[in-house]
Every structure is written in C-alpha cells, then in structure tokens.
C-alpha cells in the first residue's frame, strides 16, 4: 500500500497484512470487523444480513460489490438461505460446517468455502459474494460475477471479407469460451494466473496439451510469474514484460482480437495468453511472416489466398523501401532512372525549393500527422480531417510548389501499402523503420540504403520469440513449412503443423479431391 494511503487510513502495512492473513473466526462480528477494516467505507460495498433458516441464533451476512455482482444471483442466495431452509425445516445446528451449508442448502452453480480473510477479499473484489454465518469456521464464496459488458462484435482493427465476424471482448471468460467453442478438444487447457499487485488481473494461459512444444508452457508461465507490477490495464503491459527482445522495435509477441486467429494459433502448437479487461489476446511464439498473413488467406481458395498474400508482401516492401529508393535515385543516382521517367520527375521538381530528402521527410511526417489526427478525433471528424489532409492540403502543396506531384504519389502509395498489412501493431513498427532507411538513403545514397537495410536484416535475424528464431521458416529454412509462408498451399497439402509443434500431422495424407478410381476404390 502506498505511503499516502497508509497515512490517510492511519493503518500501517503490518496491520493490513495481519487482517488479511487472519483465519475466519466462528464469531460473526470478528469476520465483519476484519472485512470492514480491510475494505473501508466504499460506497459500492453492500452488506446484507440474514438469519439462517429464519433462526435468530444463526445470524449471517452477505458481502458483495454493487455493479460487480449480479443482484439476481444474490437474491437467489438469500432465498435459499432464509426461505428454503425454513420451508424444509432444516435445523441450522445440523449445518455445522460451511461445507454442509454448501452441499445441503445452496442452489448456486459455483459455491466454495474459504479459510482466510485474504481469500474472501480477493474473490469479493472480483465480483463474488462472501457469506459468513455465526458459528462457522469457514466462509462461503458464491460466484455472482455479473457486470455490464460489451457484446461480441466484429473487431474494427482486423477486418475480413470472408470468415467469422465475432471478436474478443473485455471479459476474459467470454473470450476463452469463444475459443473453446471452436476447439472442442479435451486437450485444450486453460491455466489461470493472477498478475498485478493492485489490479489482481486474471490471466489465462491456453494451449493444446499434446500439440505444444515441451517446455514452452513452462517458459510462458515462468515469464508471466516473474512479472512484479502493481497494475495490468491492457495486454500491452504484459507484452513488453515477456518479450525476448525488449529493446527491439520488432513485435515478438503477436496480438489479436479475433477468436479464429487465436484458435488457429493453438492448433499450430502455440500458446495464447488471455488477459481480463482487454479484447486483445497475446500469442507466442511469433514469427515475422505471420504479421503479413490474414485469416482470409485460409477462408478463400488457395489461388486467391496466395495472390493476396503476395500482394501483401509487395505492400510490405513498398511500405518499407519505396520512399528511400525514390529519394536515393533522385538525390544520388538519377542516371539509373529510365530517361523518360527521369524527365517527368525533373519537371515536377523544378519549382520545389527543398532537397528531396527534406521533401520526403516533410511529406512522411505530414502523413503520419494526418493518420494520428484522424485516429484520435471523433470518427466523423477524423474522416473529414483525413480527406481534407490528403486531398486539399496535398493538392495545395503541389500547386504552391512546396512538394512535387511525384513525391505525393510516392508517399500516398507508401501509406496505402502500410495499411494493407493486416497486423496494425507491426504496420506501426514498419512505419518507424522507414525513417532511418530514408535518412540514410538521402544522405549516403546506395551505401546508406544497403547498410541500413542489412543492419535491420541482421537485427531481425538475431531476435527470437520464446526461443524460436523470428524469421523462421525462411531463416533458418524449414522446407516443410514453406507451404504456408510466402504462398498458401491448397488445404489438402497443408497436412503438417509448423516445425516447432509437437504433433506434426494435421490431417491424413492423400486428401486431394479426386474421382473414384476405375476399380471402385477411393
């Protein structure tokens, strides 16, 4: 607890710790005092006292948080405690343990007992209802979590044309259910964990037991278990704390809002990390090429999937290199441009007062500015800003002679290409990489371009994601994984899982559709 809190409450840390560690007492008043002292005078903390089976010798109390607990569940609990017991003439003296109470009286689906105040408090703040009854040495926990949450919607950052429309929400159990619904395999495991000293955020680690590489789940748990932080408000917190290359601009942990993507990752032998209160789940290990692949690749026919995958690879290269190549050619190596094209570029640049590098930097920064402004503003205004920025300002800048029309085209194509990359977070990283290559190309020509590009390549080759090389399966080269890297092979050829998975066989062999053979065999 921070020092200012201590001062305000007038309760040292030791006292709080002592209260939390205190076992549940048979005297109801002791437990009430402990919970009240720990929780303080919170307006949303509701207490409801009752008489067990209507017997005044057995008073009890329910604690729950308004807004976090479902009031109808609390009503059911009260009905069971007060009415059912007396209707069935149950003797409260015979319900001498919390466990008997749980098994004989409570009708809720999930009811547990607990022994210390700390256990009760952590469940209470998660939305459960606590129950204490005078004379019982244990408390009872009733699962009553229920709050207003967003419905399942299509994720706005990962659109697709063909495929499921559902996306993850901010509720962890809805998210795990969305994946479980897709994979009805008893080997699908979802292990719980809590991270965040103050937020006590629920984390779920999902994997398919006999597919995941031995040791990977332990490594994930080890890294997650090593996190010492007071709050987890989004998966980004965890992502940065478990990465293999924390200083690298490359994303070595994949994030998604799509349950089908998460399910597909699990079926490839990877581990999915769900975090409560965010619709973004994390997937490890991650490979660079996955950021360029989209779910549509698998839902459309393989010709279409492969073609658009190639288009995206081209978009990736254009997004990374086009401005640098343009600046390098126009600044240093104009003899390499075909004559007609060179004349067109030169005529456009005739009135521009800036060097090409500066012109490119201004345009790129202006583009990023418009993108960021469009993103932050309310949706209708954001669209207007984008249109005004791209059309009107661009046109005005060309007419004023501040930038050449060719530069506008280059920056526009680069921007569009960066939007073609399905992973939003990796397209942001790509946009950042553009600048060092651009500056190096604009100051040192081919030397700068080649050096920066190879330095970047060396860095990408050096990094790993949970022990797996980041550029796998191209480097190191895995021939069997090539069927789903640059191209998407037909489904009947995708009969093996990626090399790092434990069970390689994805489907039986010889599944290519074919007419029956003449002898009648299939």
């Amino acid at each position: 607890m921070p020092e200012n809190d201590q001062a305000k409450d007038g309760k040292p840390q030791d006292d709080m710790q002592r209260l939390l560690e205190q076992p549940i007492q048979p005297q109801l008043s002791d437990n009430v005092t402990a919970v009240d002292e720990v929780m303080g005078e919170s307006v949303d903390l509701l207490k409801r006292d009752f008489l067990l089976c209507g017997n005044p010798d057995y008073p009890g109390i329910l604690y729950f948080l308004d807004g976090m607990a479902d009031a109808s569940i609390v009503d059911t609990v009260l009905k069971a405690l007060i009415t059912y017991g007396s209707e069935r003439n149950l003797d409260p003296a015979k319900l001498s343990t919390a466990d008997m109470l749980r098994t004989s009286l409570m009708i809720n689906a999930s009811v547990k007992t607990f022994d210390t105040v700390a256990e009760g408090i952590s469940a209470l703040v998660a939305g459960d209802t606590l129950m204490f009854v005078n004379g019982l040495k244990q408390g009872v926990l009733i699962c009553s979590r229920g709050w207003k949450d967003r419905g399942v919607e299509e994720p706005s950052s990962e659109n697709n044309v063909r495929g499921p429309r559902d996306g993850f929400t901010e509720t962890i159990r809805t998210n795990t259910a969305n994946v479980r619904r897709r994979i009805r395999d008893p080997h699908l495991r979802i292990d719980p964990m809590v991270i965040g000293k103050r937020t006590q955020t629920d984390i779920n680690i999902a994997y398919i037991n006999n597919l995941v590489k031995p040791g990977l789940v332990d490594e994930v748990k080890k890294r997650l278990g090593g996190i010492k932080i007071d709050a987890i408000l989004e998966s980004g917190y965890i992502e940065e704390l478990i990465e293999d290359a924390p200083l690298s601009p490359f994303n070595t942990v994949q994030s998604t809002e799509r349950p089908d993507k998460a399910a597909s990752a699990l079926l490839e032998g990877r581990v999915v990390i769900f975090i409560d209160n965010t619709p973004v789940v994390l997937i490890v290990p991650t490979f660079f090429w996955q950021f360029i692949q989209a779910p549509d690749d698998y839902y459309n026919r393989y010709w279409v999937g492969s073609f658009f995958r190639i288009v995206r690879y081209c978009a990736f290269l254009i997004s990374l290199l086009l401005p640098s190549i343009y600046v390098m050619l126009v600044s240093f190596h104009h003899e390499m441009i075909p004559t007609q094209l060179a004349l067109t570029i030169a005529s456009g640049r005739e009135v521009v007062p800036f060097p090409v590098l500066l012109e490119a930097l201004i345009m790129e920064l202006a583009f990023e500015l418009m993108r960021e402004a469009g993103l932050r503003m309310p949706k209708p205004i954001g669209q207007a800003v984008s249109i005004v920025g791209s059309l009107i300002i661009g046109q005005a800048a060309v007419q004023a002679g501040l930038v050449s029309p060719f530069m506008v085209i280059v920056v526009a194509i680069t921007g569009i290409s960066s939007f073609a990359i399905p992973s939003y977070s990796s397209s942001l990283a790509l946009r950042m990489f553009r600048f060092p290559i651009l500056i190096a190309s604009g100051t040192m020509g081919l030397l700068g371009f080649a050096s920066t590009f190879f330095a970047l390549l060396l860095h990408a080759l050096s990094i790993r994601s949970f022990g797996e090389p980041y550029l796998t399966p191209l480097s190191p080269f895995r021939p069997s994984d090539q069927r789903d890297t640059m191209l998407r092979a037909p489904m009947w050829m995708l009969n093996s899982r990626p090399g790092f998975a434990q069970d390689h066989d994805r489907m039986g062999h010889d599944q290519m559709p074919a007419p029956p053979k003449k002898d009648g065999s299939q």
């Binding site: 390499m336 040192m444 080649a450 080759l461």
Partner: protein
Amino acid sequence: MKIQISNGMFIAMILNIMYAKAIGVTQGVLARTVGQDMWLATLLGTIEGIVMMYLTYLVIRRTPDKDYIQLGQLLLGRWFSSLVALVIFAFFIVAFGPVMITFVYHLRDYFLPDAPLWIFVVTSLIVGTIGCYYGLEVMGRIAVIGLLFMFALNVLITIGSMQEFDIRNLLPIMESGAPKTAKASIHYLSDCAMATMMATLVLPVVKKVDQGHGRFGVFGIMGSGMMIIIWAILEGAVLSSEVTSQYTLSCMKLARNAHMGNFLQRYEMIMIALYSLPALFEVMFCIYGTSVCMSRIFGIKSNRPMIIPCCIMLGVFGYWIIKDHFRALDFLENYWPFIALPVAIGLPLVMILLRKMLGYKLQKKSA
C-alpha cells in the same frame, strides 16, 4: 549452449566470403594476366581451392570440436596457440585490404564519386560490427540470404548479357599456355584462402562436421567456382578479355553493359544492392576473425570486447590501402596472393605435421 551452424550455412559462408572479391576484382587481374583464359584460371583455382580446403579439414578431422587455435593449445601449449591466433589475426587484417578495395571502389567509383572515403570504411565497419556482435549463427543466416542474392545477381547479369554474348571471344582456348594459366590461378586461389582461413575458425561449430568427411567445405568451394565462373565466361564472351583487362572492376563494366529491353537500360544499381550483402559479409567476417584471435591471445572468453579495437585496426589499414588507387592495385596484384597463400597453405601443413609428431599428446588428453 554451444553455438552450432548448419552445413548449408557453412557452405553459404564460403560462397559469400569468396564471391564479392572474385567477381569484382580478381577477374580483371586474371584478364590482365592470361587474357581470355581467365575462366580456365578460375576453374584451375577452384580445383586447387578444393585441395586447400580439404587440407584445412584434415587438421581438425580427429578433433572436430577444436579450431586451429584450440588445437595449437593442445599440441604445444599456450604460446603456440597465441602464435596461431596471431597468424590468423594478421591474415584477416591483411585480407581486409582486398575486401575494402572490392567494397569501396564498387560503390565509390560508380555511384558516389564525391563521397569521402572514410564514410565507406566506417559504414561497412558499423554493419560488420552489428553482425559480428550478434555472433556466428546470425552471420550464417545472413550468408544464406546472401546466397539468394548471389543467385539473383547471376540471373540478372546472365539475362542482361545474353544479347551480346559471343562465344568466339573466348577462343582460342589455352592461348596463354598451361603454366601461365596455372600461375595466374593463384589470384583466384587467394580468394579461396579467405574461405579456408574462415574454416579454421568456423569448422568446429558446423553441425556433424566429422561425419561430413570434409565435403561441406569442398562443396562450398565448388559452389563458389560455379557461381564465379559464370562471370569469367560472361566477361570474356561479352566484353572480351582486352576490354576486361582495362578495368579494375571488370564486373561493373559487364553490369553497366547489361540491359533488359529498351525501358530497363541500366540496372546495375539493383545488382550492386544485391552484391553489397556478400561484400559486407566479407567485412563482417574480417572483424569476427580478428576479434576472435585477439580475444584468444589476451585470454578473454568472449570476442565482443575485442570488436571495437579490431575495427579500429582494420579501419586504419583498410583506409590506408584504398586511399591510393595505385597502392591498392599494387597490393592486390603483387602482395596479397603472396601473403595469403603461404598462410593458407602453410598453416594447415604445419598443423598436420605437428599432429603427426605430437599425436600421442592428443590421445593422452582425450583419454
């Protein structure tokens, strides 16, 4: 965990370390020496290189987990291992001269004539340092990518040169005679020397090197020969040996000459961009070789602390060599082969001899 590189990576490393210099400057030297027989000199050099690589392998055959420096320690103790390290260190320092000549003159003379020389030296050393810092595994991986680039470059040059290809330019064969061609082949053999000296440090980390019976290194030299001889034949047949001999960087003349249709009249920049990777790999390995040797001499476990001091030494020597074109060419043609070959052939021979004489020591230590 001990680093290991695959056989493919090792072969790719051999190709990378030889390719840039062999197509860039060696062909011009060969053309000046034996005219249109330069492809024959390259072929002969490849065969000699295969023998030299096998000799290098023979040294570590029975101790596949030890490089030359570690083997020297086992044979004659610390002073001898330091001596071996010093010899290899000196080799890579000197080798940096031809490497810089290849890299800098290609980029400066044809693309950035106004840029100061130091920019080329410093930039290449920075990239080399990054690669060296990441270690041998990353260098192996980038070598595989470099191999793809080399294939692409060979395809581009072949397509672009086929229109002017005239086989008659290669005739008559053996005009210079066998002895002269064999003598000229030492220029190509000095390129192979870089590969064999690389193998002295890298072979122990190659996966299952003892089961390969030296064939990985041999495949590497053969692969390099195949990739490079294409240039020798194209330069002879397209440019003719007379024209080739007029250029320090004959491959650039061939690249400038190449064109695809009317629209793509010049695309040598694409080729040089592809060529930069093997050239930078050479720089990278010179840094790696020198830093490893230095760390062994000073008894430091990791080579990383030695990268910057080695870069300074390499940079100073490289800059001094390339500052004067005449000095660079003189060094390349008259000094480099006569420094490289005695080391690359002599060191394995000495080590084999010592193994024969002191083999009992190794058996005792392994027992």
